[in-house]
């Protein structure tokens, strides 16, 4: 049974804040295939297209028949725990600081023998387990041995918490609380047990409704935040940056114009100023404090969430300038991911299809309800995944894009959205 996590005590302010030492982050190119799948919440291994043999560790040639045709396939991960050990010594700083640490050796039903981080609820060998893949603090996939039936508090396992960004007991900044999506995110975070949710709002003279409801929640504090105003971002970072554990950047400007449908660049500029430059300003101001606290106790700073769009992958011409601004934000989010990596901060990007809001009023269904999007964010934080494509439209577009991005470009150009 995992001990449910207790609310952590207040930190002693005279003590130095522990900094992050990453676990080993080197992986060969082929091995990054596991990371790719884990980033989306799947456990995949290579399977030989010719003889069917499952490969582990990842490689270039089938160990059975020498075929180079190895395809990544999702794995159920069922297997037998052959042995477990408790690490009491490690030369690696990450593990040294977190001893004792449980490891296991599992013989997968699919064939290979794998080394795993072992969940505390797994019994002594021999025992049936289920192996999954998670991203560790270095942002690389590692294999985890899970119990077949976990207790209600299994997410509080010390090892598993290092792989996830659970909002429970944490302090979160949501950059725009004036939209339905923002309010749904706030409610979902409160429900997930967040200690404090700072909710940003700009242009206080523009009343959108709904802000009063969420500001009534005891965990919620409204904070002025205008992502177009560098000073606003700087001042808020100065006030609360040192306490934020999770940043959720949902602020966006969304208009429905391509190139010819709106003269002038002011609308496109407004989209870029929040969707792209807003992210840049926010990352410059909140990034350093987030990184500095990434190993700060049980509720360390842990994640940065960006609300992007599936249109970031391939431009949706009716919302052409919006798509371009989300593509710019996506690229910058990749830069942010690289810069956050040394501190072990996870950058999570969401690529939803059309959300059921006023700017997508004329988009045909299916559209994503704000509450569904909010749930997807909380789930991503809990699962420790990196790239989420919530909703049917997003999943379908992703499939088409991965299959052949040029074909998707044509389909979207012909209005095949």
């Amino acid at each position: 049974m995992t001990m449910p996590m207790m609310h952590p005590k207040r930190k002693n302010p005279v003590l130095r804040t522990q900094q992050m030492n990453l676990p080993p982050g080197a992986r060969g190119r082929v091995a990054l295939g596991i990371t790719t799948a884990a980033a989306e919440g799947r456990f995949e291994l290579q399977t030989c297209a010719d003889c069917g043999a499952v490969q582990y560790p990842p490689r270039e040639t089938c160990h059975k028949c020498l075929s180079p045709r190895l395809n990544w396939r999702e794995q159920g991960g069922e297997g037998l725990l052959l042995g477990s050990t408790t690490l009491h010594h490690s030369n690696d700083l990450f593990f040294r600081e977190r001893l004792p640490w449980q490891l296991g050796l599992v013989h997968l039903d699919a064939g290979p023998t794998v080394m795993v981080h072992l969940h505390g609820e797994v019994g002594a060998a021999p025992a049936r387990v289920r192996v999954g893949a998670r991203l560790d603090r270095a942002g690389q996939a590692v294999l985890i041995g899970f119990p077949n039936e976990g207790s209600a508090h299994m997410a509080d396992d010390k090892m598993l918490r290092e792989m996830t960004s659970d909002p429970k007991f944490r302090k979160v900044l949501v950059t725009d609380g004036k939209t339905e999506v923002g309010q749904a995110i706030v409610r979902a975070l409160v429900k997930a047990g967040a200690d404090i949710v700072w909710v940003g709002h700009a242009e206080p003279w523009k009343k959108m409704g709904g802000l009063d409801d969420i500001s009534a929640l005891p965990q919620v504090t409204l904070v002025p935040l205008d992502l177009t105003n560098g000073r606003s971002v700087t001042e808020l970072a100065g006030a609360i940056g040192g306490k934020v554990d999770i940043v959720i950047n949902n602020a966006e400007v969304h208009r429905n114009f391509g190139i010819a449908s709106r003269r002038g660049t002011d609308v496109a500029k407004a989209e870029m100023d929040i969707n792209y430059f807003g992210l840049l300003r926010l990352a410059q101001e909140f990034g350093p404090a987030l990184k500095g606290r990434s190993a700060d106790g049980a509720t360390n700073a842990t994640a940065w969430v960006n609300l992007l769009s599936i249109y970031a992958l391939s431009n949706f011409p009716p919302h052409g300038t919006f798509s371009a601004s989300k593509a710019a934000a996506h690229s910058l989010a990749q830069c942010l991911r690289a810069e956050m990596r040394p501190a072990g901060i996870r950058v999570i990007n969401l690529f939803p299809g059309p959300i059921d809001d006023e700017w997508n009023q004329q988009m045909p269904p299916p559209k994503l309800a704000p509450a569904t999007l909010a749930s997807a964010i909380v789930k991503a934080l809990r699962d420790g995944v990196e790239d989420i494509y919530p909703g049917d439209v997003a999943e379908e577009w992703l499939e088409r894009w991965r299959d052949n991005p040029k074909v998707l470009e044509r389909e979207l150009a012909h209005g095949g959205g």
Binding site: R27, A31, G83, T85, L87, D92, F95, A125
Partner: protein, 390 residues
């Protein structure tokens, strides 16, 4: 039907050299290699320029290579090999050097295993040891092979009823041997209580199950028996030798060692049975592996290892002398030189230069090699039976 292999008749193995071990050194591996070659030259009467074959084993040459070493040492060999296979390198270097001498490709081959040990050598070696270690074990913080052998040990204990005390017997007896070895790093006796009470590393592996990494070198010469007699060098002969890599790869966890695959061939080459062996130098990176070598080299059946160690004494003067130098567990592991430790000690036993460690009636010695944990087990295994010249 396997082809009849060429025997090793006519090959002499001589001049065991140990460059004393130190825990840490600021020198590079080349310093230890240089000392070893110098000692070989001085002890053998063979001039440096007459060494025309070089077989090297080292993990700490980078960015240099065996080729670079020839220039560094001022050698001009006509036969050169680098066999950086750790614990199996003694056996593997000997097999290659012997064939070179037999074919006439070289007359005098210096086999040298050497490694330095800097303060953070251990961690740096781990990170880039192999693709599979980088991708599938290093990320788990296992601190080198400790956790891998913890799994193997735990599985073995569960499968065959071995107890920690059984492994302790190996550690304790080898420590007794080490006390008679002036080159051994450990100088104090070890009791079973101390072994049992030692702090856990990665359970069931505790402190005295692990070797101590250090810096040092081991070396020997391979030449024709004719040449050895000309030089007046006491020497041993090779009665048989085997080598196998990535054996039993289908086994989910190591239970069987690769020696098992070819051990009948080993004894057939030598024309002897396991009962004829007078002492055994196992590769003792962990006691469980030493125990497996007793089984897989034919001294008892699989699973009988615990009973074997309970009913035998492994000391130099015991019923089954094993790791008479103290083994790596008590002498220390100077990187790849750990793979040569059993070889030089066997040469000393067979040339009567083992001092107070001498095994009575030492005529046939078996040296086993085991090395290269690239993922979840050692991939290289090998064994050699050495004897006295006829």
């Amino acid at each position: 039907m396997a082809r009849q292999r060429l025997s090793y008749a006519g090959v002499a193995v001589a001049v065991p050299v140990t460059v004393p071990y130190v825990r840490y050194s600021t020198h590079s591996a080349h310093w230890f290699i240089g000392h070893a070659i110098d000692a070989l030259v001085k002890a053998s009467g063979v001039g440096k320029d007459q060494i025309d074959g070089l077989c090297l084993s080292s993990f700490s040459l980078a960015p240099d290579t065996a080729v670079g070493v020839t220039q560094h040492m001022g050698l001009s060999p006509r036969w050169l090999d680098h066999v950086p296979t750790g614990g199996a390198s003694g056996v593997m270097c000997l097999r290659r050097a012997a064939r070179a001498v037999q074919s006439g490709d070289a007359d005098v081959v210096a086999c040298v295993a050497a490694d330095t040990n800097h303060i953070d050598s251990f961690r740096q070696t781990l990170g880039s040891f192999s693709n599979f270690a980088r991708d599938a074990t290093y990320p788990y913080g296992s601190g080198g092979p400790n956790s891998i052998f913890a799994f193997i040990t735990a599985n073995y204990m569960r499968s065959f009823g071995a107890k920690r005390e059984d492994f302790g017997r190996i550690a304790v007896d080898q420590r007794s041997n080490a006390l008679k070895n002036p080159n051994a790093m450990f100088k104090k006796p070890l009791t079973l209580d101390e072994y049992m009470a030692a702090r856990p590393i990665s359970d069931p592996i505790h402190l005295f199950d692990c070797v101590m990494p250090c810096a040092g070198a081991e070396a020997f010469l391979v030449m024709s028996q004719e040449r050895a007699r000309e030089l007046g060098l006491p020497h041993a002969v090779i009665r048989g030798a085997i080598e196998r890599h990535n054996a039993y790869s289908e086994d989910p966890v190591m239970v069987l060692g690769g020696w098992r695959v070819d051990r009948d061939d080993l004894y057939a080459q030598a024309g002897v049975r396991s009962a004829d062996i007078d002492f055994v130098q196992t590769y003792d990176d962990y006691p469980v592996i030493a125990m497996m070598q007793f089984e897989d080299l034919g001294f008892c059946e699989k699973g009988e290892g615990p009973a074997f160690v309970r009913s035998h004494s492994l000391t130099c003067d015991g019923s089954f002398p094993s790791n008479t130098s103290g083994g790596q567990l008590s002498a220390g592991q100077a990187g790849a030189a750990g793979g040569f430790l059993g070889m030089t000690e066997t040469l000393r036993q067979l040339t009567d230069t083992a001092g107070s460690r001498a095994v009575a009636h030492a005529h046939l010695g078996l040296v086993a090699g085991f090395g290269m944990v690239t993922y979840d087990r050692c991939l290289c295994t090998g064994a050699v039976i050495l004897g006295r010249p006829a």
